[in-house]
Structure formats: structure tokens, C-alpha cells
Amino acid sequence: MSQFVALPKGLTEETFAKAIQEYRALLGEDRVRTDPASLQSYTKIMIADSEEHHTPSAAMYPTTLAEIQAIVRIANKYKTPLWTVSTGKNMGYGSAAPASRGQIVLDLKTMKKILHVDEELGYCLVEPGVTYYDLQEHFRKNKLNLWVDVPAPSAMASPVGNTSDRGVGYTPYGEHFLFSCGMEVVLPNGDAIRTGTGGLENGTSWQSYKWGYGPYVDGLFTQSNLGIITKLGVWLMKGPPPGGYFPFLMKFPRVEMLADIIRTLMPLRLNQIIPNACIVVNAGWEAAGYFTYDEHGRGTNRESFYKKKDSLPPEVFQQIMDKYGCGAWNFYAALYGSPEQVALNWKYVSGAFKQKFGKDVRIFTEKEAQGDPIFEYRRQLMMGGSTLQEFGLYNWRGGGGSMWFAPVAAARPSECDKQMKLATDILNKYGFDYVAEFIVGWRDMHHIIDLLYDRTQEEEMTRAHRCFDELLSTFTKNGWGTYRTNTAFMGKVAASYGPEMMRIHRALKQALDPNNILSPGKSGIDLDASVA
């Protein structure tokens, strides 16, 4: 019987044991773990796939750049694959588990230095283990009037992890990779580089000027396995003056109104009257967020309204909307600036929606929404606050299963409407509910759908897997790409972008990482896998 929980593909136990011995000589016993208890957390996945496919062989915890460089050299020597995570909070996308069995998790949560915060120009330089919450605490402690844009699990996710997976948030700086500036990266051969202007001796603009000189390479290290990001520059917003942050909510009663909502909001988004990555949330998501306890202490969830296991019929959705007072669509956005600017812009925004929808829109500002926990959650997100409220989704259906299906649409009314209808039909066909939000980007919509299912039921897990597969196939046929996906479907998503793109990714991998040691399988890039 093996002394290890799993082995890297193609490695004998003897070779792996030697590699582990060498890693331990470098980091010590405590920071190279192969025992089952230490590895358990990395197999805690929420996607519809077996843990067996994603069980790591070991986990390592470096703390310095030099250690990572030395680790990479050992990995090349023994050909041990390294699956890098920052804080490992990629829930619904595969969590911290590797794409394939036997990889070593290189866990960077122990690299927690906030290296620099520049209040004057609004940027910071952080290591991978720094969380959004750590940054906010730093701002508070040092009385800095700075905001960092956050993704939904902000209290425990990291800017390095989220940016490198091209995650998004909800303030005007919502497109995280766009608002990053300068990286330090360990390459697969162990060399370290600094991108942008970071290579200049005595350079002063590493975190203030993105492009440097010559080909811009930062993108090569996002959603990729071509390097390990060890430092990242992040641009920060200056907090607006008192009265200069104005979050609001508009509720719309009918599902068919989506196209008109997009038609009304996009001009305001494009002319920057609404400057933030605002959100249009459906009733399913909204209701799941309102998970509460009744007077007997029992939770209210989907089952409280509908005992059957198939998808919720429209009339039950209506009951849920009536119970929580939420709309079929719920539009959250915010205005930022001086109080005078905000007041003026509010006239444009509220005027445009009232003109279009009349009595069919209900409008809530902070004043009207006092005490509403979901408004508060959205208010926090749109100002870069710390919240974990989104996890309430996991009580809605129960059983711990969640897979984010995340196609992108051009921000056109008809396109969003078509996506919504198609996704609803496919989800319902498999007995699941449409639980979704549109995050409004610069000219695109991130259509974020949470495929919630019961992971404790094998049949339901199989069904969820098949449902996700059909969603992906159908959306691809319609010309819609997926911006991000989970570890079970990375190959399929990569293939959807065409063989030429797969070949260039593979050529880059071959050139930079011929031993295929960094995160094989990430974004479908794996030298051991065949290319059609």
C-alpha cells in the first residue's frame, strides 16, 4: 500500500518520495504535507465531479520568492506537477483542488505581506496570501481613504488569486485584470521576472504604468500555467467624499423586462453616469440571499415553497417574489463623486427608468432599503466591503453543490434576453433552477449562473454534470464564450475557442514549461493531453 494519498501521473512512489525528501530539506517537514488530514481541505470541491479526480499528492507552503524558485527547480528535476493557489477560494470553479489527481498544491496563503500601499496615487503591491479583508484592515488601521474592488467572497479571497483568474467585482474598478499594474512572476525554469516597468533599475512606476516597453506579457500569466505570480500591483479607488456614494436598487416585476432594462441602463453605463460594474439579479438569486429563519428557528429555503425536486414552476417563483418582495429582476448600481454630482446624476438615472417603466419600476435608495440585508450586501460590494453573504446560495437547494456557468454576452438587450431564456430552458430540463445575475462590464455582460445541486446525491450530481455540459455546448454553438470555468470543464471551454488558440497556448507552454510542471490542465493547457 502506498504511503501517499495520490501520486503524480507517471511517477513511481520511489521517485515521488525522493522529491518529497528534497522539498522537505528545503522547507522543513511542517511545510511539506502528505498526510490525509492536511490534504482533506484541498479535496473539498463543490463541482459535479468526483474528488478522486482532483486529489492532490501533497501540499507545500513557501513563504519567499527564493523558496518558490527552488521549488520549481526541484519540480523540474523530478517532474512533479505544481498546482498553484493563492488562498484557494475558487469555490464553484474547483476550489483549491488541482485539475487532475496527483498534483502537488503549491499553497501561497502563507505569503501574506502587504508590501506597499501608496495613498497618493492609489495603488498597492501585495503577495498572493493577502486577502481583500487584510487590505481593508490595513486601510482602516492606517486611516487611508482607499477602496479596493472586491469579488463576492471578499473576506477570504485574495487580489492575486482573483485577478489571475480574471475575476470581477462591483465598483468602477470591477474588471480586476484591467486595474492591475505590474507583476512579479516565477517562470517554469525558476527565473523571476517583473513585468511592465518592474525590470528597470531604480524604476519608480511599476504600479503606475502598466505597459512597459515591447510586447505586453501580463496576460500570459492570467488563467494560465506559464508562471507563478508572487507579487501583484492593484489600483485602488479613492473613497468619495461624504455623501458621494449613492447605491440604489430598482425592482422589476416581470422576467420579460430584461431586454428593456438593458436597453435603458447601457447608455448610462457607457457615458459613465453609472460608472460601476452594476448587477441585474434574478428572483432565484435574490430569494436565495434572503435565506432566513422563521419563528421556530427553521431555515426558509427552496423546500419551504416547493417540495418536489424538479425545477421551480413560474407560479412558485411568483410566490417567492411576493414573500420576499423581490423583483423578477433586481438592478443594483451606485453613483460616485461629489454629493452635487451624485444628486445630478441620480436625476438622469431615475428619470430614464421612470420614463421607460413608469409604475413597473420600484426604486429603493439607502433610505427606503434600511434594514434590508440583501441591499446591505450589495451596498458593501459596490464600495469594496467585506461580505460573505453570497454563500447563502448554498442553503437554497442544499447539499453543497455549486458550479458557476459563466458565459459572456455582448451587452445588447436581445442577446441577454436570448441567453436568459436558453439557460432557463436547459436548467429546467434537468430539474434545476435558473439562479443568475448579469454583471454589467464595459461593453459585455458576465452572465453568472449558479448551478445549485445536491452533491450528496449521486444521481443529482450526474445530472448537474450533464446539465453543465449541455449549457456549455449550446452556448458555444450560439457563439457565446465562457469567460471562466471549473476544473472539470477547462479542456472543453478551451476547445470552444478554436484549435488555433489551443495550438498557440500549447506552443507557449512547450517553450516556457517543457516539463509541464506548472498546473497542467489549467485552462485546458496540458502537454500530456492530445490536441485535436
Binding site: M46, M156, N395
Partner: protein, 142 residues
């Protein structure tokens, strides 16, 4: 993952936790079966049990735990929003290290999602986790 003796011990505690939760949900026969299946142990427990208020009350958890796994038990509710639960779980776990010898919990799936990360972020690991549709029981190494 863990030796059989220790697994039996934790199984008994989970049965106790499940019994409380099932009783709360009106599952009398389930509760009775769980208690019947439970085994006692003489490990000298100094334990802490996290729970969410919807699944039971502190007194019930302490009583059930003490009955099935005799020792000193404290039950801590995780009230409030999920963000607060994350920080509370983390703080309770950090506080328990070096003091308690047993750290278990009975929570709902959403709470478990944040509690799991809180424990891991504090450097902890799990003996094991048992998930059901509406509740999760777990045991953490301390």
C-alpha cells in the same frame, strides 16, 4: 484517514449531534436510532461544538454530546450573518487550540462553506466531514 477507534468515537458524537438536529426537525425515530447507535468513550473529552441556532440549542447539544461522549462540553452558536460566522469560527478555533481536545460542529451547508474556510485559513484540518442536504457535521483536528 484516521484510526478506527477514533473514527468510532467521532461517529458517536456525530450521531449525538444528528440526534439533536433530527429531534428539532421532528425526526423522533431517526433520533432514537442515532442514539442507539452511539457509543460511549472514555477519552477525557474537553470539547467544543459549533452549531447554528436553527439546528438546536446549546443545552441540547451539550446534553447529547455528554450523554454519548462523556466529558466537558461547551456549545457555541454561530449567529448573525455569514461574514460574522466566518470570523467567529476562526476565532473559536484559534482559541480552542491547545485548550480543547475535541472540536466538532453541526451546521447548515452555507455556514459550513464559510466555517470550512475559516478553519483551513487558521491552519486547521479536518478529521472528517459528513454532508447531507440540509446539514453538515464535522470534526476538526485540534
Amino acid at each position: 484517514m484516521i484510526d478506527q477507534g477514533r473514527r468510532r468515537f467521532f461517529t458517536s458524537m456525530f450521531s449525538a449531534g444528528a440526534a439533536v438536529a433530527a429531534a428539532w426537525a421532528g425526526g423522533g425515530p431517526v433520533a432514537a436510532a442515532a442514539e442507539e447507535a452511539a457509543e460511549t468513550t472514555a477519552l477525557g473529552i474537553n470539547g467544543l461544538c459549533l452549531y447554528v441556532p436553527s439546528l438546536g440549542e446549546a443545552g441540547e447539544f451539550v446534553a447529547a454530546m455528554s450523554r454519548n461522549a462523556p466529558g466537558r462540553w461547551a456549545a457555541h452558536p454561530l449567529p448573525g450573518a455569514l461574514t460574522e460566522r466566518y470570523f467567529a469560527a476562526r476565532s473559536l478555533y484559534e482559541g480552542a487550540r491547545g485548550k480543547a481536545n475535541t472540536f466538532v460542529g453541526v451546521v447548515d451547508p452555507a455556514t459550513f462553506a464559510v466555517v470550512h474556510e475559516a478553519i483551513v485559513d487558521a491552519g486547521g484540518s479536518f478529521h472528517y466531514v459528513t454532508e447531507a442536504r440540509d446539514r453538515v457535521t464535522f470534526s476538526v483536528q485540534v
